[in-house]
């Protein structure tokens, strides 16, 4: 089990993806996708946070170990942060996490970061599509499986 990350996913397996969206840009962008009726896969579950800077990388890890198949964190574009520089400061932490997970051997496609503004409903839908596709391509993640096996 440990030897392979991409343990085979069952047929028609639908991943669950947790998304942390900042209230001011990305959450608004997600709303705009709704207003524009732009369709995207239903795998993402959104948690609203005030700022992408509120997201502690530990939370992202916790999502993975609890069994999330993917995580998306989205905030305002650099320079647009409602809280001046929350996204800039968060970006450093996310960069570290990104590299750490990669080195550890967890697929790049598990944890995603994006900047989506309040006007980018289309982009939000695209991001969700892309994230869902890459997560699906990975199959059931090992961390989730370990977790699931031990729970079950």
């Amino acid at each position: 089990m440990l030897d392979s990350i991409s343990a085979k996913a069952p047929e028609n397996w639908e991943p669950k993806i947790v998304a942390f969206l900042c209230n001011w840009c990305s959450y608004a962008g997600a709303d705009l996708a709704g207003t524009g009726r732009i369709q995207y896969p239903p795998n993402v579950r959104v948690i609203r946070v005030p700022c992408s800077g509120r997201v502690d990388p530990l939370m992202i890890l916790k999502c993975l170990t609890r069994g999330a198949d993917g995580v998306l964190v989205s905030g305002c574009h650099p320079g647009d942060c409602h809280y001046i520089a929350g996204n800039y400061l968060a970006r450093r932490k996310f960069a570290l996490l990104d590299e750490l997970l990669d080195f550890f051997g967890i697929e790049k496609g598990r944890v995603h970061f994006s900047w989506v503004s309040a006007a980018e409903g289309e982009k939000f839908a695209d991001v969700v599509k892309q994230v869902t596709e890459t997560v699906k391509a990975q199959g059931k993640p090992c961390l989730g499986q370990i977790c699931g096996d031990e729970r079950g």
Partner: protein, 341 residues
């Protein structure tokens, strides 16, 4: 019996440094500059030193210096109220810098006694050279009774054998590639800079992580999974780390419960990744965690990689500058952004 000093006839570098430490300690304690002086004294086992907390000038003679002075003494600093003198190696001082940056120590209350370091020993390597299992002094077949340290070698003596090992062959891995053997900050530098090991390019330290990173992803993951599965969640690594000073570690927190001791591998992974993130941009590769691990997990691989990432992504090296902002307290507009959609 241990002989940490040289063979007495020639005044070796190590001897000069040891004398220097003793003199400095005496002077500092006598002048009242410090209330306590922290250094190393000989331990009870061969090739072991133990932290010494000297408060009377006359006790300064207990202080020693040598390749067995592995402990990072800055870990004790936050525990003292008054002025403290402390012996630091090149790596130790960088944790000290971090502790100052993070308000754990006030710069004016610590007298930094820097030592030009020529590297410390790695017990695992000695064991391997000797071909024994477990600690060398407790080896079933050939227990080492005493050890002598010369300028370039160790002479281990046991019942009916004497074994000379070149120091260079048993250096701690982090010392082999050490880029800062001379403390970057100090109040007093014992000896002179020529007494230190030749500083390596910091790139040299990344050879191993680079090689590892070239492995297949699955191979990396299964390596770490196997390593971490052995973790017994004793948290000794955290305890030994001079930079892990939180009153309550996230591992111990009840609400929210980040880590549980019974959930197995997933939470062990969460602990180790979480720990790496917490020391990211702060870890100076002093090796304390690795030495503390009772099951010998290769903890350096992750920290060293993080050090590399931090350096390459943010041009930041931990513990070199006493006036900078901590890595995660600052940002640049041009920080890496290409991993973001």
């Amino acid at each position: 019996m241990n002989k940490m000093t040289g063979n007495g006839t020639e005044k070796g570098t190590r001897h000069i440094i040891e004398e220097g430490i003793r003199n400095t300690a005496t002077k500092m304690l006598e002048s009242g500059e410090v209330d306590v002086f922290i250094g190393y004294e000989e331990g009870t086992l061969p090739l072991r030193t133990t932290p010494a907390f000297i408060t009377c000038p006359e006790d300064a003679t207990r202080l020693v210096w040598g390749p067995a002075c592995e402990n990072n003494l800055t870990v004790y600093l936050p525990k003292f109220q008054g002025a403290v003198g402390v012996v630091v190696k090149g790596c130790d001082v960088r944790t000290l810098t971090n502790l100052i940056l993070e308000n754990q120590i006030s710069r004016d209350k610590v007298k930094i006694v820097g030592v030009p370091c020529s590297g410390i020993i790695d017990r695992d390597r000695i064991r391997k050279v000797l071909g024994t299992e477990g600690p060398i002094e407790r080896s079933m077949e050939r227990p080492v009774r005493s050890a002598q340290v010369t300028e370039r070698s160790l002479i281990l003596e046991g019942d009916g054998f004497e074994f000379e090992i070149q120091l260079e062959d048993v250096l701690a891995p982090s010392c082999e590639t050490c880029a800062y053997p001379i403390p970057v900050v100090y109040d007093v530098l014992i000896g002179d800079e020529s007494m230190a090991r030749h500083a390596k390019d910091s790139e040299a330290g990344y050879v191993e992580v680079t090689r590892f990173a070239e492995l297949e992803r699955d191979a990396r993951f299964s390596y770490f999974s196997r390593e971490i599965e052995r973790c017994i969640q004793c948290y000794a690594c955290r305890q030994a780390c001079p930079l892990c000073y939180c009153p309550e570690c996230f591992t111990d927190r009840q609400s929210p419960k980040w880590i549980s001791r019974w959930r197995g591998l997933s939470d062990k992974i969460l602990f180790h990744l979480g720990r790496i993130l917490h020391v990211a941009g702060r870890c100076v590769d002093c090796g304390a965690c690795r030495r503390a691990c009772p099951v010998g997990i290769d903890l350096r691989l992750l920290t060293k990689n993080m050090e590399k990432v931090v350096k390459e992504s943010f041009e930041y090296e931990s513990g070199l500058d006493i006036d900078c902002l901590p890595l995660l307290a600052a940002y640049k507009r041009e920080d890496p952004d290409d991993f973001i959609l």
